[in-house]
Symmetry: C2
């Protein structure tokens, strides 16, 4: 069933039916009623591809999903997607997800944009000096970045959390508790949030004339295995750290396993603060020793970014171009005075 058939069925022109459907004012209310009823009865749905071709819009947000054999799926990605979806469903928007090798993201993003399949783009996993930024700006398609790109002019639309502030505050808390030997379990070194969190920690330490030793820094993929390995390394250090900052509750999971295996007590021998993206699976309050965290909901960020993206496409603006969300520092039992 297409527009033509429907209009013939009704004895109307395609124009009139199309206008009736799209809420144009110059259609008789009675006619509109009739059209709407016929749509219900026939189950007619406009062909989105045709709609897109004609209007250039079709209610879709494009995003690139990094994937490859051996590339671990990332809980953060799913959680964020859920946030996007929660908002998108309210506006009858959908997603076009282009899977791409992590090394091919710039090209994949460009393909996605030029394909004419999407109205707006969403970009995450930002790096320092991210090459996608220049490409996006040249594209004349709305986009919002989750995170920022350290080293690039911040003249693009983004939503980020205050990573530097989060880890600065976390470090201050530990300093006040008397800790002086710090270690950091971070995400991959090239990612923006990792750079900023590290800077936050270093800034707080510097105020007390302290430094973050090289061998007390681990920058890895954020899996629990890597957390375990890093923590085991830290614990074998001659002058082992007592205060750990950890970029994810996933890393913390492994780290804590290492602490337990070493027969140490979390919150006494070792204090740990992790960043909490509010993953439903990894609630800090459910850890055997509840975790002190810096918290910011990934899902909420997804909702907000979808709002901005959809709003821009629908011209329901204006939206702030840049948003920086503060994180909350929530003290639980994994932090205590330095031993």
């Amino acid at each position: 069933m297409n527009l033509k058939q429907l209009s013939e069925l009704l004895g109307l022109s395609q124009t009139t039916v199309s206008r009736a459907l799209n809420g144009y004012p110059e259609v008789n209310e009675a006619t509109r009623e009739r059209v709407l009823r016929a749509v219900k009865e026939t189950g007619y749905r406009p062909n989105k591809a045709a709609q897109r071709l004609a209007t250039g819009k079709a209610g879709s947000i494009g995003l690139v999903m990094p994937t490859a054999p051996g590339h671990q799926s990332d809980v953060h990605f799913g959680e964020f997607l859920t946030g996007l979806g929660e908002e998108a469903v309210r506006h009858d928007f959908h997603f076009v997800i282009m899977p791409a090798d992590p090394d091919d993201e710039v090209a994949a993003l460009r393909r996605l944009a030029i394909s004419g399949n999407v109205d707006a783009l969403f970009v995450a996993y930002m790096r320092g000096h991210d090459p996608r930024l220049a490409m996006l700006k040249s594209l004349s398609m709305p986009f919002v970045v989750h995170g920022r790109s350290f080293g690039s002019e911040p003249d693009y639309p983004y939503l980020d959390i205050d990573n530097e502030g989060a880890f600065y505050d976390a470090a201050r808390l530990l300093l006040q508790l008397g800790h002086t030997r710090f270690a950091m379990m971070n995400g991959p070194a090239h990612l923006d949030f990792a750079i900023r969190r590290r800077n936050g920690l270093i800034a707080a330490l510097a105020e007390r004339g302290l430094e973050l030793p090289e061998d007390c820094t681990s920058q890895t993929v954020m899996t629990d295995e890597e957390g375990l390995i890093a923590m085991e390394r830290f614990l074998q250090l001659p002058d082992r750290p007592t205060a750990i900052l950890c970029s994810s509750t996933v890393l913390a999971l492994g780290a804590i396993r290492a602490v337990n295996q070493a027969g140490l007590k979390l919150g006494e021998d070792i204090s740990l603060i992790a960043h909490d993206d509010v993953l439903p699976l990894l609630k800090p309050e459910n850890f055997s020793v509840p975790l002190t965290t810096t918290r910011s909901s990934l899902r909420a960020a997804g909702v907000r970014i979808a709002q901005r993206l959809i709003g821009t496409v629908k011209q329901a603006g204006p939206f702030p171009e840049q948003e920086l969300w503060k994180t909350e520092l929530i003290v639980r039992a994994s932090t205590g005075p330095a031993p």
Copy 2:
């Protein structure tokens, strides 16, 4: 840059350029070379919406993502998607994801199909007597179901794991170890896998003249909280169970917390077998007491389903209509002789 412009630039007709691009034989090799070079230089990409409109195909798989405010994101969904993506990227396919309220899935699926945005559909979270099946069959669009629908004629293309066999085998192991008091922590009762796993357990018990008491069955959303709650309930039973079957490592996470809190020893006081979807975050071997599991990789299933879906769209068939994968029973330390 569109086809018209490109063809003018080259001094060729649109037909010739289109044919050169799509590998038709009636184009001079030299001409094709020239076209390909121009594409490289100009960065031309065909508009997918137009391509779809003209051909009816555009290289996309559609799926519905259940979402709603308060609806927890599901790690299983992300993991499966990664599998789909891993295969899709090899064929330059993408996904169209329609977020939808869980109560609205049938309608959402229909919208997605009729929208003309997708070439094939993928469906998961199957229920007993699933109403989507009839709709899908009436659609004349390729689809593959992950799981099955208990109570419906199995005359549709699916990939499922042998849930019944998995839990039958698991129960047999525990029976051989002398356990007689069983409990089950299952997924939502209306879901197909939950029905079959329960049947598998009941069948194994029946062979020994045993039954699964009502108060030793929990059928809930599969979160760690629910796992905790269910296990706490089991432990307070006057004749408390010693053998637990658990539909997910996520549930097991909570369950084990309850066991620990009660001061009991896993693998001694309580034996537990969980089904393991091979989530990167929840490796059974990384639990403090490594978990005995029935294993089947969700991601591998995603890859396989994408293969079948894409193969069907590309007419690169034939593919088996139905596949039933055996699970592996892997014995670790969470199972031991009945106390």
